[in-house]
């Protein structure tokens, strides 16, 4: 695995070629595309992100980027993310390797503008932005993992920064997550689980926030083995508070409960920051 500096460099380079590709202008329209493709091909970290995802996936990109019986182009995104990634990657390779004109492809997707540059950018956005987003997400995850490992070492060197006294004995330190705190957290989480049932939010959203809450609880119980993940889950919980469903009815109680949890957990997050 590379070190964090190298990942940061790849992330920056990738974002630059991707940005150039996304803001392709008429007159040089095929160059940013070729640069983007050759960067992906030669940077093994990125190539591997793609290959890991599409390994063993059987899908023909023509099903995603096709033409109907009247010769009109369409993009029909497959449900499976792997298939979508494979379709975008194969389509990109196909365009570059066969010198297909980006201009003529773009003209098949009207975008309410008269400028050719707008057509090009609209098409690239529709066809390839999800691939760029996916690669960036995966790069971020890799970087979090590397940072987490590094932080894990830092934390264990710093003896007993956060310690859970299993036997209820009092450890004299400000940083200890003591039994009472954990019990308090468990109680709040129980109320959250109770209340959330009556709040009108999407099941996926409910599951996500409950997963994050459980992750926070687990991490505090195990003296924070994965600080980066704890912080991310904690931030997700905080952002959930902006959900408009928390403004009315049972949502108000839920917001109060979550706020209580946030208040208890915040000091621990501040310490690992």
């Amino acid at each position: 695995m590379l070190d964090i500096k190298e990942y940061k460099k790849i992330s920056l380079d990738f974002r630059r070629v991707a940005s150039n590709f996304l803001r392709t202008e008429y007159t040089n329209q095929d160059i940013p595309l070729q640069r983007f493709y050759s960067y992906i091909e030669k940077e093994s970290t990125i190539k591997n992100i793609i290959l890991n995802k599409i390994d063993g996936v059987d899908y023909d990109f023509h099903d995603c980027f096709g033409k109907d019986e009247f010769g009109r182009s369409y993009i029909d995104i497959p449900l499976d993310e792997e298939k979508h990634i494979k379709a975008m990657y194969d389509y990109l390779s196909y365009i570059v390797e066969n010198n297909v004109s980006l201009y003529s492809l773009s003209m098949d997707f009207p975008c309410g503008s008269k400028k050719i540059t707008d057509y090009l950018q609209n098409f690239i956005d529709l066809a390839f932005k999800p691939l760029i987003d996916y690669i960036q997400d995966e790069l971020s995850k890799l970087m979090i993992m590397v940072e987490e490992e590094k932080m894990g070492i830092d934390m264990s060197n710093n003896q007993g920064v956060i310690n859970y006294a299993k036997d209820n004995s009092v450890i004299k330190s400000d940083n200890v997550i003591n039994h009472n705190t954990l019990e308090e957290i468990a109680n709040v989480i129980e109320s959250i689980k109770d209340t959330i049932k009556n709040v009108d939010i999407d099941k996926d959203e409910k599951d996500n926030v409950l997963d994050d809450i459980e992750l926070v609880q687990e991490q505090l119980q195990c003296s924070i083995e994965k600080p980066a993940r704890l912080r991310k889950a904690f931030n997700n919980i905080k952002s959930f508070l902006t959900n408009s469903a928390l403004l009315t009815g049972a949502g108000i109680t839920l917001a109060e409960n979550i706020n209580e949890l946030v208040t208890i957990v915040q000091p621990f997050i501040d310490k690992i920051a």
């Binding site: 992330s11 920056l12 974002r15 630059r16 940005s19 995850k141 970087m143 931030n235 952002s239």
Partner: protein, 151 residues
């Protein structure tokens, strides 16, 4: 026609930050006005702190700023037209009579950067700052100036 330069001002918030909007993901963020206006180095590109993509700084102007610049340009044109017509009406003779009513200028609002639940991050690489919406803060925050990921 020679290039005409228009000047406009955006009022910063209490911390001295002004708003920008990402052309890729449309998220808004704020930058320290004095850091953006630095002469050395002059920043010719800007990165979105949320999605990390980059473009020229002018493409990061918010809708309000763009509207404002258009209004200022429009007012300039209206003034020029009014001046031209004034000249014509002065030269009226007994055969041609021309009167004119000046066009009204577009109203120019004061641009003020709104304050919200935001957090300021400092870049360890270039020591500039970005102010991002805490709740939008996904896994990463990128430096708007040098593009490195800050956290």
């Amino acid at each position: 026609m020679a290039d005409i330069e228009f000047k406009f001002q955006i009022e910063a918030d209490d911390d001295g930050y002004v708003s920008y909007e990402c052309p890729f993901c449309k998220s808004t963020f704020s930058l320290n006005a004095s850091e953006v206006q630095k002469d050395d180095p002059v920043y010719t590109e800007m990165y979105c702190p949320y999605c990390g993509l980059n473009d020229v700084p002018t493409n990061f102007y918010t809708k309000e700023v763009i509207e404002q610049t258009q209004n200022i340009a429009m007012n300039y044109m209206i003034d020029e037209i009014n001046k031209a017509f004034k000249k014509i009406t002065k030269n009226n003779n007994k055969y041609v009579k021309m009167t004119y009513k000046p066009l009204k200028n577009q109203s120019i609002k004061d641009l003020k950067t709104k304050e919200g639940t935001e957090e300021i991050f400092e870049c360890k690489n270039c020591s500039n700052h970005v102010k991002v919406d805490y709740y939008l803060g996904k896994t990463k925050v990128y430096c708007a100036f040098c593009g490195i990921d800050i956290c």
